[in-house]
Symmetry: C2
Subunit: 219 residues, 2 copies
DNA sequence: CTCGCTACTCACCGATTGGTGACAGCGGGG
DNA sequence: CCCCGCTGTCACCAATCGGTGAGTAGCGAG
């Protein structure tokens, strides 16, 4: 019926550049994953969808369904891909640090985490996503992110034991919360609670305050 | 022509609830604003749009354009409406508190802010929105939120001066960041950095850690 | 009662979304 | 060699989005 018309419409006529995509499934899969990660990191989760990813990857969205089973599977793939985060971020001499006290350690870790998040837009976006939505999709991604971060912290910590007096887990969670929110607020609006967070001088002040806080609890 | 059919459909007949909307512009405006606030507080900013608000308000979206000039104006109205937040939240004896030190004050304010945010879904959603998007719309709303919060803090603070040694503004911003992130993470996923934040016992532990942190910096 | 203003509703628009089925074309295995 | 399977492309679907123009219904003034 309509096939003839369709065929005519698709006929290669004198038009533009066909630029036939090479038939390489692996490359296409990587392109899709990279497009998804890039899109999420640059644009955030707001306009993150099948169509946008396919557009950025330069392929048909059908392939996303075929290779990843839809957006959910793709997000999951981003999550598992986050497993490599630790390797990229761990300084090689992680085990060789000589930090005497738990306070030394936490001060150092806090500043490292601050910097790590500040320079990782993807992590930031996932963090923001976590906070704004509560679907299964996001929950799994959040778990992967959380695991990567926990692993990173563990590796960095080495074998230093926390002090007995205070509940270090809870205190650390509060400190991490502060760091994460500072970074998120800065990336979004350049300030937090009236404190400007744009120039490196701003960040130095924030880091100093953070140090003071950590020192305050852990002496 | 069709009028008869329409009239029949709307006629009070045996059918559903016609519930003819009374012709009261003021009431409609209030209904729209209430619908917008409720929708934002309950569903978040993700599905916050003209259609959704109109649906919840039970009126045509055209009225939102007419009375508020579109979503932007409506959001702005929500922002100005936030001006009353302080009055609703200030304990009457705000000026009569006898807090001896700045540390006493900040400890107390931190816990109050924690509770205030924990019991205010609208503020939380706005906060999350702030962090996830950076449009003019959100920026103005964020400003209103920020102003309301700052005013609240100022009123609560009274006339106690901060200590000289530390940069109180920066430290306080970090503490506030921690509080905000704890509340947001809890509302979204029930935990933050591995710390469960569901039961009131969890919150007691978090509050204790927060107190320790504040005490640590302000002595 | 009639007229006119205003509150209100409806129908429609183009764009975009997630999702699916059908088809084209290359390449390797029988 | 031919055929089948895999990769990639396209057209199409229903639903929803923000936005607009036209028209209806009720109330008060004359």
């Amino acid at each position: 019926m309509l096939n003839e018309a369709v065929i005519l419409e698709n006929s290669p006529g004198a038009g533009g550049e066909p630029e036939r995509r090479v038939r390489d499934r692996g490359a296409t899969e990587r392109a899709i994953l990279a497009a998804a990660k890039g899109l999420l990191a640059e644009e955030g989760f707001q306009n993150f969808g099948i169509n946008a990813v396919a557009r950025r990857a330069g392929c048909d969205k059908q392939l996303i369904y075929r290779y990843y089973g839809g957006l959910d599977g793709l997000v999951e793939a981003i999550g598992t891909d986050l497993g490599t985060w630790v390797k990229d971020r761990i300084p090689e001499d992680a085990g060789g640090m000589f930090l005497l006290t738990y306070g030394d350690l936490m001060e150092r870790l806090s500043l490292l985490l601050l910097d790590a998040l500040r320079t990782d837009p993807l992590m930031r976006r996932i963090l923001a996503w976590e906070i704004s939505e509560n679907t299964e999709q996001v929950r799994r991604l959040a778990e992967a992110r959380s695991k990567a971060l926990a692993l990173w912290l563990e590796r960095m910590r080495g074998s230093l034991a926390p002090p007995k007096g205070v509940d270090a887990a809870v205190v650390n969670a509060v400190v991490i919360a502060a760091i994460q929110h500072l970074v998120l607020a800065a990336a979004a609006g350049g300030q937090c609670a009236g404190l400007s967070l744009k120039t490196s001088k701003d960040w130095e002040k924030a880091a100093l305050a953070l140090k003071r806080i950590v020192r305050g609890v852990y002496g």
